[in-house]
Symmetry: D2
Subunit: 264 residues, 4 copies
């Protein structure tokens, strides 16, 4: 298999400079470690726990920043889309459209995303069994688009808690599409702080290592230079200054996993 791809960035866009800073630093880290890098950020957080949560820069300003990162740094860019209408303009600006977990069964969104011809990363819903992603895949494939990625980001486990089921990775891989482990959202505690989600940042490297050892195409990691002041997902993001060591470690495990894949 190909070396691990690292999809990383801040949860939401804060400014052009901030996005450039993180993208630039992550590109250096991934280049040094031999990882493919994809920049990730959201122009809108459409389903914040509460109304007072900051939503981002909006679509027009956000897509401009994302497009500039793509052309300026020469890295592929991923962003999430929330309605069918957003798919075509977003696909002009970025390489990979991401379907949020809550929306992974919304047929019109999946079809509109597929029809752009862009690569589509679908996050498996917190309510969905991994084998049910075949139905999601079929909706996208019906548009003639087979550039699909499937992401594990945790599944509901009681209230305000997720658990990452490692079986999900090989089960989704049976579709033939690359599988991504979302190491930071799978340690989220949805609604766990009342008006916002909590998280267990310290366990994100646990999830990343475990998944890379099992064998995945990519890891998805949200990062920020100061997670505790980030406008969203701070409790589960990994500090930027720890990303170099984490990526190096993951690449070590990835080499081993790719040399000796699990035979299911």
């Amino acid at each position: 298999g190909r070396p691990l791809t690292v999809i990383a960035g801040p949860c939401q866009l804060e400014s052009a400079d901030h996005a450039q800073m993180i993208a630039g630093r992550m590109k250096e880290i991934c280049d040094a470690a031999g990882a493919q890098y994809v920049f990730k950020a959201s122009y809108d957080k459409a389903n914040r726990t509460s109304l007072s949560g900051r939503r981002g820069l909006g679509m027009e300003a956000g897509l401009k920043i994302l497009s500039d990162i793509r052309s300026g740094l020469g890295v592929p860019v991923l962003t999430d889309v929330h309605t069918a209408e957003q798919c075509a303009p977003a696909a002009q600006a970025v390489d990979i459209l991401q379907i949020p977990a809550f929306l992974c069964r919304q047929t019109d969104l999946l079809l509109a995303a597929g029809e752009t011809g862009a690569a589509i990363n679908v996050k498996k819903g917190q309510f969905l069994a991994p084998w049910d992603m075949v139905n999601v895949v079929a909706k996208i494939e019906s548009t003639g688009n087979d550039r699909i990625l499937l992401t594990e980001r945790g599944v509901s486990f009681g209230y305000n808690t997720l658990v990452a089921d490692m079986r999900s990775l090989p089960i989704m891989a049976r579709t033939g599409y690359p599988v991504v482990m979302d190491a930071t959202h799978s340690v989220q505690q949805p609604g766990g702080q009342g008006g916002s989600s909590g998280g267990q940042r310290e366990f994100a490297p646990v999830m990343a290592r475990a998944a890379v050892a099992v064998g995945v195409a990519a890891v998805f990691i949200e990062t920020h230079e100061a997670p505790d002041t980030a406008p969203s997902d701070g409790p589960n993001m990994i500090p930027l200054d720890r990303m170099d060591r984490l990526v190096e470690t993951l690449m070590d495990f990835d080499r081993l996993a790719k040399a000796d894949p699990i035979d299911l």
Copy 2:
């Protein structure tokens, strides 16, 4: 408390005649039993398990049928909306806009629905704790709309299974808004038949009785004259010819529950 309201109808609209037949029959049943009746049907099923699942009649034709039932039979009508754009036209045709469970945290949809001034029934997401509905409520209230209903429809319990937590009913009632028990979706088995959802129709009366005894404002029940051939949700719908006895029984339990409410 006021007597129980019964929100009932087919999962999706099939034709004007079919909708009229079910609405007419349910009105007779509810009138006879002393229940308030609300007709429910969807003009579009936007998140079917698989692409081949039938989606319904579409918005324009569907809203016409719903509007005709409202004016013809004189019963309030409920339907679900899936995007912010659908809210205003749907609110012209029906009395209650319903937010589907997967979409219960989509801020723009909640705001657009709230702004119509129509009553809003929010289904609690399968991934959401009951106490987190306060954040959902606050999003709608921010539009100045306080005509809100909150529905329990089951929470994720392992894969392909839901469980209905009776504690959810009094917890959501602490918001001060009416609470609805969705007796047929809470016995759904999401994705449980591979390309479609399974269900355990036989347990829907169990959930309805339990919830009415605990004390709810309304029960939500999908019904069909021939569930096994219905285009969606057949496995969990209750046959129309059993609805009269079920509604009578529920009214008996409701009288008892309303006369002696649980003191939490």
Copy 3:
């Protein structure tokens, strides 16, 4: 069906006088309401969360108290057993041997209990599906004993939380044996206070009402005159001075449920 049986008492025996007081008061309440009454208390708490939790009076002293209540008040008595050796002596002193939930699959314990000829109440393990109780039943039946009761006391739902699945009641009833709803343990929060279990006492009447409306043979309720100072299970016990009103209400719901049983 026969009127509801109420199995109630303190979680653990504290003294002969205390047990007599609670048994006496509960008998008055049940007599007044037309309910059959069974006294319940444990002589040993063999699986306290932590070592410092009080365990009770021990077997010899405890069985003496239980036997005296049986003969003195003329009420049937239930207590739990934890090893095969305890079954025979316990069966001399009480009418119903109870198998704790954690131990519901321990074959030797089930066989020893069955062989006493006493009635056996098995609590369904927090880890067990309701349909798997048929295997538990078969172990007891193999001893020639068919005086069996099956109790729902909640199932694991994430960490430190249980959920009571109302479907469990009719599913277990398919065995043909009486089904009991344990209203106070099903609102326990195992380990939820670090060194002891928490609980949500306020929801015990919710579970009891819901179950009685669905239709059960008995409810199991732990009660204490001062739950907050009880040596175990305080957080989920119902105060003794609220039991009269609760039992009356449950009998009202029971009459309705027994007159109109759910037809599965």
Copy 4:
């Protein structure tokens, strides 16, 4: 950290020759790969799903076989105990007493095991949060025994299914005691075949790899030369002829993990 220990053997003892064969082969495999080896087998299966499940050779015959393996092959031996009475004799024959998951909160069993002075491996209950193992540990420590191991073997996730939460490993490691990943029981499907438990053998290497990458002291793997005809746990055991390659791979991941431990 020290190199990985492999705890492996058949689920239950079938005969002296069979046990010797598996222990001998596993010792060769572990010696070749540089792993410490511990032989595991049960002399009694005390909680089979159904009564017809084979229980093993019994205590006396079983302990003789285990003791002979210990002295003959010079490998440490582990077996599980089910009552307080079994602890002392078992501790004469084996090095490590194992507390079954269902029994992990039975105080008398934990104390009796601790008092033998043998090492104690406690399987975390399917109903227990990882942070609640501190209370279990304290019960054993109260006997003056601090030779404790803690094992993850999956936690209840809906009905008939377990999920292995990788966070459990570092959380239990905070106790300071070695943590074991039970790779074969964590893919068990309790009661999943009606009268016996099912399993997903193909995912056992997934769990083992993931856990070793996260960093554990040992993996626990049940193995058999012909799992499909084994008297218990066949569906989740790994065929003996695949163990050499699996152990080699795990040692590769272990070296990497021990050289670069996760800093929580």
